[in-house]
Subunit: 436 residues, 2 copies
């Protein structure tokens, strides 16, 4: 049984603060190793990538075999069952439809002086998606990263996915094909991130890198940030369920376990206004853990990082939720829409008991790449916006410059930036006939 | 005279690539020092901030004097001339009007199965703006950071601005008051960033930190990223002017110098389709440099980092511009709107010869915090979007879950995430009457 906290107890605030600050992950310090790998790929390109892949993935490649061929992809995709294929296509369609609504609009207007102002959005030219190999090789993540990039209009979209020992996940290749990925490289780790950021003889550099990865991948993304754009550095996954007593404890238990089974460092928290219900959920979790395939992982996560919190009412639950700023928030209450209006920080909200979080992982439509570790206080999940950028536009007329130019000149002088002021003054003088 | 390149020459590609890769800044490695400062502030709070301020800013503070009082702010603001005040207010009004249009819209719709989907935007609760002290203490930057935060609806907005030796810039305080900043702390450096990120006894932590700073501030922002959100790590400023021969060389020279005067590592590039005009601009720059107050800085920047590039036509100029992905781009050509449609990567575009870039620094309306060092390939200038975040929403009905749940279950099983699948299956079974 994990922590069982009650807000009315005097010790609550201390225990809750400790829960907020709980360090769930001990990231190994791989920064020096990663720096060396990046330097090696920059210096030696393909040769370095090939050597590192042989070393870490026990896979012998050449420049010609870094990428899957169309025939290889076709052969792997053919292994996927029609049912799995249909499920992937349904997911892709729904993710595409949701993200298509995120395309931001250009703007252009004239102000009262006749100046034209506005902005324009353009897609990133090339994006690289990292897809982990092995156990954490999730086709759903391919869709969640690649579909928004395609919707944004990214021209060149590539994937790096290691295939340790040559083992390929056909569903990953099929997901990439469904999402419209151009090229799939069978490389991974910091060497893949370096190749994407700096390019090699075979791999053209990209402008933006997204996708999850292990400590090496995360450290490499941090290092190449600035050279290219990156998405967030994701931490372990987490869920917060706010549930009233009018729920099936087993449903809620499964929702909590669906995060816990990801990873021992995942976190599942239940907040309820009914202590009896809270205990019933704890019992249901224990019962499900008896037979769950990943019970070792899920059990450790639940025991070490999980919590059940009993509040006076749902209003208090919402306040605690805002302090947690959860990645995933389920509102299993009678009026979830009303409670949602009290939520100020959350990556994704799942409204009502008929919306298990797993729907959002696969087929809901919203993205499943979401801000972890309380970063929903200041950041958002992955979206089309991550693959576009805005150029602001301004166009003065002589009249507009005459109206607002003097203020710019004055501020420039106040900041001791004379040339700034003169660049305005020279034009104003022309208007006044002074410099002709 | 800086580099003078002509695209028709065989050596051009090599020279242009070198220009793109030019390393203009030698950032000192202050990372260890910054790590120690952050650890100290986390451990000792106010006491550490006060000691570090005494050491670096030669200023003795107490917890009670970390922030300016209302009376102090009032007294400083009273020193500002009515003309400067009016210019700041005009700038603030225009920046506010521009950024108000950036407020993103919530969305909510029903799909064909009756599921409700959408998203909601909420402001960051608390933001901290860093404002450098001394020479680079720009009131315009206060407006450019604080106004978008206020427009976004940020509840608590604070500034950290060091006052070395106690010297205060009244315009900075006035800009902060005009922008609606709540509290101004007279602290700076890595200790200010640490205080904003982790909080002290006196300074409540914030969720997002923006604003420029020296190497210590930049390193500290990198380190606290994740704990809080940050804006970009800005590099030295740069301008690209594309101009045809139908321009006053002196205007273009002043526009180039208005970037060059910022900093020796700033970069100013002219691209023109007329070599004679290019030489005329070079001569005009030299002439203006003779009398410019900051001629030492501007001259060094122009000589070391500047360039004049002669192209066959404006179409080629646009292509080169897209490879540069400039922070500021002036299009001083007959039809700037047409040429702008060829531009795919730029932080801000200034259309036509009547729009000197300096207008955008102060009173145009768009933000002057823009992506440097070619990062306009993948990122945007500061905006209201930096102070809001999106929560995605999904609400299934039993019917919607019946329609799409089986696909989620299948994908969960394919990813060996059994509890994910079961959380859907338990509900589907209820619908089928199986589990009642």
């Amino acid at each position: 049984m994990p922590q069982f906290l009650t807000t009315s107890e005097p010790s609550f605030e201390t225990a809750f603060t400790a829960l907020l600050g709980l360090k769930r992950e001990d990231a190994p310090d791989v920064d020096d190793a990663v720096a060396a790998i990046i330097a090696d790929v920059r210096a030696r390109g393909d040769a370095a990538v090939i050597e590192l892949t042989a070393k870490f993935d026990r896979l012998d490649l050449t420049s010609a075999t870094l990428a899957f061929t169309a025939a290889e992809i076709e052969a792997e995709c053919a292994k996927v069952s029609p049912e799995d294929r249909a499920a992937l296509e349904l997911a892709a369609d729904r993710i595409r439809a949701y993200h298509a609504r995120q395309l931001p609009e250009d703007a252009c207007w004239q102000d009262e002086h006749g100046a034209t102002l506005g902005w324009r959005w353009t897609p990133v030219s090339a994006a690289g998606l990292y897809v982990p190999g092995g156990l954490a090789s999730y086709p759903s993540s391919v869709l969640m990263n690649a579909v928004p990039a395609r919707v944004a209009g990214v021209e060149r979209l590539v994937i790096c996915c290691p295939t340790p020992g040559g083992v390929v996940n056909p569903l990953v290749l099929l997901a990439a094909r469904i999402a419209g990925v151009d090229t799939i490289y069978r490389i991974g780790g910091a060497q893949a991130i370096a190749a994407l950021a700096y390019g090699t003889e075979t791999i053209a550099p990209v402008d933006k890198i997204t996708g999850p990865g292990n400590a090496y991948v995360a450290a490499a993304k941090r290092r190449v940030f600035g050279r290219v754009g990156i998405d967030m550095i994701a931490g372990p996954s987490e869920i917060l369920v706010i549930a009233d007593a009018d729920n099936d404890p087993d449903w809620i238990a499964l929702d909590l376990l669906s995060q816990a089974e990801h990873d021992e460092s995942a976190q599942s928290i239940l907040i309820t206004d009914d202590a009896t219900f809270g205990r019933a959920v704890a019992a249901a979790v224990d019962k499900r853990l008896e037979t769950l395939e990943r019970r070792a992982i899920a059990g450790a996560s639940w025991l070490n990082n999980g919590a059940i919190i009993i509040t006076q009412d749902l209003e208090e639950a919402a306040r605690l939720s805002n302090r947690i700023a959860p990645e995933h928030l389920e509102l299993c209450v009678a009026d979830p829409d009303a409670l949602a209006t009290r939520i100020t920080h959350a990556g994704a909200i799942f409204l009502g008991s008929w919306t298990p979080e797993a729907i959002g992982d696969y087929v809901g439509g919203p993205n499943h790449v979401l801000p972890t570790a309380r970063s929903a206080r200041f950041s958002s999940g992955l979206s089309v916006m991550d693959f576009v950028k805005r150029t602001t536009l301004a166009k003065m007329t002589p009249g507009a410059l005459a109206a607002i130019g003097p203020a710019a000149e004055r501020l420039a002088i106040s900041e001791s930036l004379q040339a700034h002021g003169l660049s305005v003054r020279a034009r104003l003088d022309r208007l006044n006939g002074g410099a002709e």
